[in-house]
Amino acid sequence: MSTTVTAPKPTPAPREITTTPRFSDKVFRAVVTAGGLSSLVILGMIAFFLVFNGFETFRAEGLSFLTGFEWADAQPEEGLAASYGVGAMLYGTLVIGLLALIFGVPIAVGTALFLSYYAPEWLKKPMVLIIDVMAAIPSVVFGLWGYFILMPHAEYWAKLIHKYLGFIPIFDMPANAFSRSPFIAGLVLAIMIIPIVTSISREVFAQTPLDRIQAAYALGATKWSMIKAVVFPYGRGGVVGGAMLGLGRALGETVAVYTVLNLMYDIRIEVLLSAGGSVASMIVNKFGEADAPELRALMAAGFVLFLVTLAVNFIANYIINKTERKG
C-alpha cells in the first residue's frame, strides 16, 4: 500500500465576526424605523396643520378663545367683528364626560369584578363577548338608538329626578325642556365607555397576586372583604387609568353626542335642561356653512380638543402602565 501524502487542505481563513449589520439589515432597519416613526410624524403633522390653520384665530382671540362663550361670525354691516370662543363648549364637554364617568364607571368596575371573581365559568366567555361586541358598535348606531329608543325613557327619568330632587341646583329646570340634555348625552356616552373601562379594569384585576387573595381568604375574609383589602388597593391605578381612557373617548365623541345633545353657547349648571356643549359636535355643527375665518376657528377648536384628549390619554396610559408593571 503506497502512501500518498496529500497536502493538507488549506484551513479556511477565520471568519471575521463583526457586529456591523449587513447591507440588507441596514436597509431593513431603516425602513422599519421610518415606518415606526411615521406615527410620531403623523401626530406632529396633525398638531402642526391644525395650529397652522387656526393660528389667526389664536392670535386674534388670545386666551379668550378658551374662555369666551360666544361663537359669532363677523357682521360687517353692523360693524361687529367675529368673536370665537370655545369656553362654553369646553365646559359642556367636561360636563358630559364627567356624567359619563359617574354613570359608567361603577357599572364597568362592577362588571369587571363580576367577570373576575363572581361569574360562574360558563358565563365568563359570553360576557366578555358581549363587552367586545359593545366596543365594536359604531358611534352613529349609538346616536340613532340614543335618540329614538333611549331618549323617551331618559326624559321620563329626568322628569322624576327633577320632581323629587329639583331642590338641588343642578337638577333645577328653568324651562320645561327635558329632551337632548347633557344628562341624556352622559347616559349614551356611559354606555359607549363601559367596554374600555371594563376591559382595562379586568386586566389589572387579573394581575392581583393570587397568594394575597388566598391569604385573605385563609384569614377568613368574605369575598367582599378580600376585594376591599386586596383587589382594590392593588388595582386602583388601573381603574383610575381605565376611567381616564374612557373620559378621553367621551370627550372626543362626535356623532352620538351631536344626535342626542342640544348645543347651546352658554354655561349652565342644570344638567337636565336641553342645553349643553361639546367641542367635537360643535365642529360638525358649524362645519357645513363655515366661511374661511370660521373654518380657521374650527381648526383652532380642533387643536384644543386634540391637546385635551392627548393629555388625558397620556396620563391614563402612564397610570395604567405603571400599575401593570407592578404585577
Binding site: G35, G36, L50, Y156, M299
Partner: protein, 351 residues
C-alpha cells in the same frame, strides 16, 4: 369470595345542601312577592319603578338574611354580591336593546333592490322598495380598502420597530401609539381637511376619507400586531440568527410567516374599528346620492354617512332608511369582527 367493592362516593362537603339553601329560596320568593306588592300598592309605576324596587328588595332581603345567619360582614358581602350582579345585568340591557331595535326596525327593509340601486333617482321619502344602498356600500368598500392599504404597512412596521428592531425610540413610539388610539375621529377629519382640501386644494373624495380612517386604524393595527409579535417565542429568532440569517431574513422568513394569522387579525380588527366611523367622513367625502366608482374624484358616500344623512332628513321614511343603513352597517362590522375572532382564536391557544 367476595370482591372488595369499596367505591367511596366522592364527598363534597363544601357544596350547599338543600337545607342550607332554604333561607335563600325563601328570600328570593319574599323579594319577588314584596316587589310585586310594593309596586302594586305604591305610586311607583312602570318598568323603572319595578327595577328599582326589585334591586332594593334584593339587597335588603339578602343582607338581612346574612346578618341573621352570620354577622355584619356577611351582610356587607351579600349586598356587594347583589350589586355586582346588577352591574353586570345593566351592561347587557343596552346592548340587547340596541341589537333588538336594529333587527326589528332595520331588517324589515332588507330586499334585493337595496344592493342594486342607489339614491340618485329616488327621493328620500319615497317608499323603501325604491332606491337603495349600492352607492353607500361601494363607498364603504373603497374607504375600507384604501385605509387598509395605507395603514397596514405603517401599523405592522411600527410593531416591528417596537418588538424586533427595538430602536432608540421604541418606548416613545409605543407610548405615542397608545395615545394615538384615543385621538377623536373628528380631529383626524379636520387634519385631512386641512392638508387635502385647504393645503392641496383638492375637493371631496373617498381617498380623503380613507386617509382620515387610516390615521384611526394605524394604532389598532400597530398595537394588536405588537401583541402578536410578542407571542412569537424568542427561540425562533435565535434559531434564525444562529443559522447565519440576517435580521431581515429572520423577520421576513420566520417571524412574519409565524405571526401571519395574527397580523391578519390585527388588520381586520382595525377595519372593524373604522368601518363605522362617521365624523371624519362628514368633513372629507362630501356625500353623494349616486354611485361613484372613482374613489379619487368626486363626492362619494358610505354606510355611516348614509345613516347620518337620513337621520338628519328626519322624515318617517328617511328614518326607516337610517335604520336599514344601520342594519347593513352592523352586519358588515360584525362580519369583520367575527372573522377577527375566529382567526385570532386559532392562534390564541399559544398564549
Amino acid at each position: 369470595m367476595s370482591t372488595l367493592s369499596l367505591s367511596a362516593k366522592p364527598q363534597r362537603p363544601w357544596q350547599p345542601t338543600f337545607k342550607s339553601l332554604i333561607p335563600d329560596i325563601l328570600g328570593a320568593l319574599f323579594t319577588a312577592f314584596a316587589t310585586l306588592a310594593i309596586v302594586g300598592i305604591s305610586p311607583l309605576k312602570g318598568k323603572l319603578g319595578f327595577v328599582i324596587v326589585l334591586i332594593l328588595m334584593a339587597v335588603i332581603t339578602t343582607s338581612v338574611i346574612s346578618w341573621i345567619r352570620k354577622d355584619r360582614k356577611a351582610a356587607l358581602n351579600s349586598t356587594s354580591t347583589v350589586l355586582v350582579y346588577v352591574a353586570a345585568a345593566f351592561v347587557i340591557v343596552p346592548l340587547a336593546s340596541i341589537l333588538w331595535e336594529i333587527f326589528t326596525k332595520g331588517a324589515t327593509g332588507v330586499s334585493l333592490n337595496i344592493f342594486s340601486n342607489d339614491m340618485s333617482a329616488t327621493a328620500s321619502d319615497s317608499p323603501l322598495t325604491e332606491g337603495g344602498l349600492l352607492h353607500a356600500i361601494v363607498g364603504t368598500v373603497y374607504l375600507v380598502l384604501i385605509a387598509s392599504v395605507v395603514s397596514t404597512p405603517i401599523g405592522i412596521l411600527t410593531a416591528l420597530y417596537i418588538v424586533e428592531v427595538k430602536g432608540k425610540f421604541a418606548g416613545i413610539v409605543r407610548f405615542f401609539v397608545q395615545a394615538m388610539s384615543g385621538i377623536p375621529s373628528i380631529v383626524a377629519g379636520l387634519f385631512i381637511y386641512a392638508v387635502w382640501m385647504i393645503g392641496l386644494g383638492n375637493s371631496y373624495n373617498a381617498g380623503a376619507g380613507a386617509a382620515a380612517l387610516a390615521i384611526l386604524m394605524i394604532p389598532t393595527v400597530a398595537r394588536t400586531s405588537e401583541e402578536v409579535l410578542k407571542l412569537i417565542p424568542n427561540d425562533l429568532r435565535e434559531a434564525g440568527l444562529a443559522m447565519g440569517a440576517t435580521q431581515w431574513r429572520t423577520v421576513a422568513m420566520i417571524i412574519i410567516p409565524a405571526a401571519k394569522s395574527g397580523l391578519v387579525t390585527a388588520v381586520i380588527l382595525g377595519i372593524a374599528r373604522v368601518a363605522g366611523e362617521t365624523a371624519p367622513l362628514l368633513l372629507t367625502i362630501g356625500g353623494a346620492d349616486g354611485l361613484n366608482l372613482n374613489p379619487f374624484s368626486g363626492n362619494n358616500s358610505a354606510l355611516p354617512y348614509y345613516v347620518w344623512k337620513n337621520l338628519g332628513l328626519g322624515s318617517e321614511i328617511a328614518v326607516q332608511r337610517a335604520w336599514l343603513g344601520v342594519f347593513v352597517l352592523i352586519v358588515v362590522v360584525f362580519i369583520f369582527f367575527t372573522l377577527a375572532r375566529v382567526l385570532g382564536a386559532a392562534k390564541g391557544s399559544r398564549k
